[in-house]
């Protein structure tokens, strides 16, 4: 489903060129569960952003479902993000003035889905994550774990093929973190691929496939035989 070969990403910081990713090769099949680990600054987020089409590689090939993504226009990339990819971030990125339900509804609104259909889909997504009773609450009335589960509901409301979670538990206590990971794993079991970036070795060890990154390179990938 996801195929990266020889991917490089270089950031120009002042006079210096920072190799955020160098020669990354990665293949992900549909429904896989992968944990990406590595020290801060090793390029985990950059890799996720490229997979999620928020960023483009400077060199190399990225094919998503056999489509070469480098040829896609800005609007086509947005459309792929909308329908095939679900992002979950460390800092939740909920819109503070909107309720939990309204936050979850946003992707449907952007996609122009009919309001009546939106309501039922949002309700279903929230109840699947055990958040029905929080639907009308604003983010500042929710705990960290609840916020992240709202964000997960939003990321998956469009039924994407892959969830990209960038340190989703980095901002909450262990117990809430466990809940959040459990929610993500439930979705993975229903068939969505899950790529999880984490600092926590305990959480990382739950994934069947583990990738270790250092200095923009993949040091170890248990999925490559």
């Amino acid at each position: 489903m996801i195929y990266l070969a020889g991917v490089e990403r270089i950031f120009q910081v002042g006079d210096e060129a920072v190799n955020a990713l160098s020669n990354v090769n990665l293949t992900v099949d549909a429904g896989e569960y992968i944990a990406i680990m590595g020290p801060s600054g090793s390029g985990k987020s950059t890799l996720l952003n490229i997979i999620g089409l928020l960023d483009r590689p400077d060199r190399g090939v990225y094919r998503l479902e056999d489509v070469d993504t480098t040829d896609l226009t800005d609007d086509q990339q947005a459309s792929v993000r909308r329908h095939k990819i679900g992002f979950v971030f460390q800092f939740f990125h909920l819109v503070p003035r909107l309720t939990a339900a309204e936050n979850v509804e946003l992707p449907l609104i952007l996609a122009g889905v009919d309001p009546a259909e939106r309501k039922s889909r949002v309700q279903a997504a929230l109840s699947a994550l055990g958040l029905s009773y929080r639907a009308r609450h604003r983010p500042d009335q929710l705990s960290g774990g609840q916020r992240q589960r709202v964000a997960i509901a939003r990321a998956t409301i469009m039924q994407p093929n892959v969830i990209l979670a960038d340190e989703p538990t980095g901002n909450m206590d262990r117990n809430s973190g466990k809940d959040v990971i459990q929610s993500l794993e439930d979705l993975n079991e229903k068939g969505m691929a899950l790529i999880l970036v984490t600092h926590d070795p305990d959480l990382g060890s739950r994934a069947p496939r583990k990738i270790q990154m250092v200095d923009g390179k993949i040091l170890e990938d248990t999925g490559v035989l």
């Binding site: 999620g52 800005d74 800092f91 990125h93 819109v95 309204e102 952007l110 309001p115 939003r154």
Partner: protein, 399 residues
């Protein structure tokens, strides 16, 4: 994305910052209110002035001595101008389709009755004035058709002068003194009110020839002609011109048709309305700058939100529309409030100061609201473009 949702999202973000949105909308509201109020006053004055000028009828032509040259200097100060005489007025009466002719000379003099005295306007006129000026006699009769050069010393009082001078006494047949000369009151005019500051009721009408003698003038100030309805003002003006040139040997007079006057007046008043409207437009501009400022701040504050929207699949154009929508909704709501304030203010002014008439045409109201929305659009373009062109990754990291 549906229009409905765009507006809802805009409203939700505007209402989450109530005070700020209120103040920004207030800027537009003040602008629109002042545009509406000022143009309402402008239109009101326009209508008022036109009605003042048409209250004497529309089929009028005025002849005045002296020639208004293209340089704008009245020829009256040049010495070879012949006076406009009573004979001229009599000659003009013979032009076909001219219904009535009213010679006119005006001055000031004390009017005395017994021990009471009052300085009033003295209108030296002919017997046809009620027809030409469309004014009515309330009591008695108007000046009779005497020999114009030797008219009897009869006077007709304006209603106010009659009240001030004679009170409730029956005025008919009373002897009064005007400028020291003895006159007999034969009639009282209906109240006509003020016209452009002239109190037409505080006046006395006497035969023109007598007024000329009283003020020691050779020339009438004006001859007003009433022509039959349906005639061409220009054709009659041409005949008047030919006749007077024949009599004077040169064109040393000025003919103004009511039509011309109303045209000129109308365009002057339109410019006036436009000018005051533009004055209000300046405050509208300031309101627009307010929206520009607040939208720029909003985009900066919500950079992370923009990144998020891009991450969940918003196209650049959708981000643009969202922020433009906010600016337009903000401006439109301000505009709506401004309309209410402006139209209400105009109505209040009309009620509180009857001397300052106001009129709010609906087309202006609609135009003002469209203008407000347009200003929102204009002010929103720059910040919205900035928002749409943000790099989603950098935007996401902005928290």
């Amino acid at each position: 994305m549906l229009l409905n949702d765009t507006i809802k999202l805009a409203l939700s973000s505007l209402s989450s910052r109530r005070i700020r949105s209120f103040l920004t909308a207030l800027g537009i509201a003040v602008g629109i209110a002042s545009v509406v109020l000022l143009t309402s006053i402008g239109e009101g004055v326009h209508k008022f002035v036109l009605s003042e000028f048409t209250q004497f009828g529309t089929n009028l032509i005025a002849v005045a001595p002296g020639r208004a040259t293209t340089t704008g200097i009245s020829g009256a100060i040049i010495s070879n101008v012949r006076p406009l005489s009573m004979d001229d007025a009599l000659a003009l009466e013979r032009i076909p389709r001219v219904v009535a002719v009213a010679p006119f000379v005006q001055g000031n003099a004390p009017v005395e009755f017994g021990k009471r005295s009052r300085r009033s306007y003295i209108f030296g006129v002919g017997p046809e004035v009620p027809t030409v000026w469309q004014i009515k006699v309330a009591m008695g009769r108007f000046l009779p058709y005497d020999d114009p050069r030797a008219a009897r010393a009869f006077a007709v009082l304006g209603s106010k002068l009659r009240d001030e001078l004679l009170g409730s006494e029956n005025p008919l047949g009373r002897r009064i003194r005007i400028g020291g000369e003895r006159y007999r009151v034969i009639g009282v005019m209906e109240s006509k009110g003020q016209m452009l500051g002239f109190d037409l009721d505080d006046a006395v009408y006497i035969p023109a020839a007598r007024a000329l003698a009283m003020f020691d003038r050779e020339s009438l100030m004006e001859i007003d002609l009433l022509y039959a309805a349906g005639s061409s003002a220009d054709k009659i003006a041409k005949k008047i011109k030919g006749l007077l040139i024949a009599r004077h040997g040169a064109e040393d007079f000025t003919i103004t048709t009511q039509e011309q006057m109303l045209d000129v007046l109308g365009s002057v008043l339109n410019i006036l309305t436009l000018a005051v409207g533009a004055l209000g437009g300046i405050s509208l501009l300031v309101g627009g700058v307010g929206i520009l400022t607040i939208m720029t701040i909003a985009v900066n504050e919500r950079t992370a939100e923009i990144g998020l929207l891009r991450a969940i699949g918003a196209r650049r154009r959708q981000i643009l529309v969202l922020f433009l929508g906010e600016a337009v909704v903000l401006a439109s709501m301000g505009g709506l409030a401004g309309l209410v304030i402006g139209a209400g203010g105009a109505w209040l002014v009309g009620v509180a100061v009857p001397a300052l008439p106001t009129h709010t045409p609906w087309s202006y109201v609609l135009l003002a609201e469209i203008l407000a929305a347009f200003i929102g659009l204009l002010a929103g373009v720059l910040p919205a473009c900035h928002a749409a062109n943000l790099d989603p990754i950098k935007a996401l990291r902005a928290e």
